[in-house]
Symmetry: C2
Subunit: 102 residues, 2 copies
């Protein structure tokens, strides 16, 4: 009931591992609500496009993100609904807890 089999546990762990890197967490939070290009994400996070692209490959491989080409850019968006819902909840929780202003 509150247990997971080995495969499920591994998958869950993989997911958390992806979220555990600050760059990747930033990427996911950036394209959680709307698609964003690699360059736009890089600019927003003040990182190189190369770095972002490397991380996006990992995020793609774990199906946390999906990219679609649009002209010369590629638009990425969070594709896993669990993750999106969970991140929204976490962000909410943190906001409530610290009661901060927009």
């Amino acid at each position: 009931m509150t247990t997971l089999d080995t495969d499920q546990l591994t998958e869950l762990g993989e997911m958390f591992r992806m979220l555990g890197d600050p760059t990747r967490l930033g990427i996911l939070l950036s394209c959680m609500e709307q698609p964003l290009s690699v360059g736009a994400i890089a600019t927003k996070l003040d990182a190189s496009a190369s770095l972002i692209s490397h991380h996006l490959r990992l995020l793609r491989a774990t199906r946390l993100v999906r990219g679609t080409r649009d002209g010369r850019s590629v638009q990425y968006v969070v594709s896993d609904d669990h993750v999106r819902d969970m991140l929204r909840n976490m962000v909410e929780h943190i906001h409530e807890e610290t009661g901060d202003l927009p």
Copy 2:
């Protein structure tokens, strides 16, 4: 509104990083509902007490877990309500998704 400041983002990342290791995830899932001793966790996860203890130190440092001595053993339990709620939700989600039997 859906953004976090740098500190909050760092903290969230740290939390996910802790969940991202299979041994630590196993520990947290083990003592999510009730306290468990180091030895009991080690047995359950088929790992050495030393290894579990090392990981518990990290989990303590990030306040994800709290331990209280009880005789010669120490009982550990998940102490972060966000994490507990979130893990419960994740487990639920996975169960729903894969529609598996108890």
